[in-house]
């Protein structure tokens, strides 16, 4: 989290502030139970945290309240950040949303502020000094908690997107031990790395012995694309899988060779269908070979 986001909320502190803080903190602690209940009530009235049970709300409310007051006292940003990150990690899977988190933190701020109004209502000047101490600290807490929550949500969403990308990867299991990867669209290094990773994971998951990579759908096959392919072939090989590359026209192949690309690593076949048939032959052939008992089978 960027610390400049937090300093925005830091009001200039005047001399009287620091002396008020301990007193107001101890007031809030002394009235802990009552204030917590008030806050929990407000949360229910505002119909927030609907996804959580009463016990869950109570337990979170207790822990957050104490942390809130501790942070008012110490002003420690790091400690609160860590706490907020943990809290977010816990409640996001429970379906809690951003407006709810902001909502409950602001409600707590209100509940505590009201309590301070009530305590210091006789002395307007003192009340002002107390609020001078309280407000920036309370606002800082709201920002930190809010931002941490949003960051955690972004991270979770990012992860979900990565999962979706992986699930929508076109690595197909065609037969047992046989995977096909038809690549469609431009293949830059970022995408090549991603596809290779997914392919390698698929090789392990499916215990694939042969992979057919079809590049018919790759618009421009240049030296870089070819090198990416060669790398992928080599990596699959390390995992015991043979690779057939299909969709590489002989014209392009010739061009690549003249550009110095080592295509000897790749077995190329006309089209995807042909590649799969060839792969099946390889697999079938291999199965036969293992059972071979007489020289006749070698034919």
């Amino acid at each position: 989290m960027q610390h400049d986001e937090v300093t925005l909320m830091q009001a200039p502190r005047t001399d009287g502030d620091d002396s008020c803080l301990p007193e107001l903190v101890s007031h809030l602690r002394d009235n802990r139970t009552r204030l917590r209940e008030e806050w929990a009530q407000r949360i229910t009235d505002a119909q927030l945290l609907g996804a959580m049970s009463e016990e869950e709300i109570f337990s979170e409310v207790t822990s957050v309240f104490d942390k809130y007051v501790d942070t008012l006292e110490t002003g420690s940003v790091e400690s609160l950040q860590e706490y907020a990150e943990d809290l977010s990690e816990r409640i996001i899977p429970r379906g809690v949303e951003t407006h709810e988190v902001l909502g409950i933190v602001l409600l707590l701020r209100d509940v505590l502020a009201r309590s301070l109004f009530q305590k210091y209502q006789e002395n307007f000047e003192l009340l002002n000094r107390v609020l001078d101490a309280y407000e920036p600290a309370a606002n800082r807490i709201a920002v930190i908690v809010g931002v941490s929550f949003v960051h955690e949500r972004e991270r979770v969403i990012g992860q979900q997107q990565a999962t979706i990308r992986e699930l929508s990867t076109p690595v197909l299991q065609v037969r047992e031990r046989l995977l096909a990867l038809p690549i469609i669209g431009e293949l830059d290094s970022q995408r090549a790395a991603q596809l290779t990773e997914q392919l390698l994971n698929a090789v392990r998951r499916n215990r694939a012995r042969v992979v057919v990579i079809d590049i018919t759908g790759v618009p421009s096959v240049d030296k870089n694309v070819a090198n990416h392919l060669v790398q992928t072939v080599r990596a699959c090989r390390l995992m015991g899988a043979a690779v057939l590359v299909t969709g590489l026209s002989s014209d392009i192949a010739r061009t690549l060779v003249t550009l110095g690309v080592d295509l000897s690593m790749m077995d190329t076949v006309g089209d995807l269908q042909g590649g799969i048939e060839e792969a099946e032959r390889l697999l079938g052939y291999e199965v036969r070979k293992a059972q071979a008992a007489s020289p006749e089978d070698k034919g």
Binding site: Q2, S189, A193, Q194, T196, E197
Partner: protein, 137 residues
Amino acid sequence: MRDEVLVAIASDADVVLARQTGRSMATQLGLSRSEATLLATAISEVARNIVEYVGDGQILLCIVNLNGMEGVKVVATDSGPGIENVEKALQDYQSSGGRLGLGLPGARRLMDEFHMISEVGEGTTVTMTKWKGSRGG
């Protein structure tokens, strides 16, 4: 999660410690398994170079944050004899052994940023960074 860890490098065990620490930092930062392995492998290479050709040195691992990009930075230093021709050392090596069989070009390919400075008689510093979300790309 500690932001910075300094690992003294003088033995095989230190090489393993350095790369495991790097992996652990990468994982905590949210780098993918693939990215973490690239980082760990690069750390292993530079650490082994120190052990094999110099004897001892150190590796500093730090979490870095640049304009929202997060990553792990590695600074490997030694006070060894130094490398006369850094350019040459970073070109793909002949595996004929000696200091030129360094694996540095390989380490460079694994990382997103890579710098090396060396002075004969003074020592060598390799600085490299792996950013989150960069994958291998």
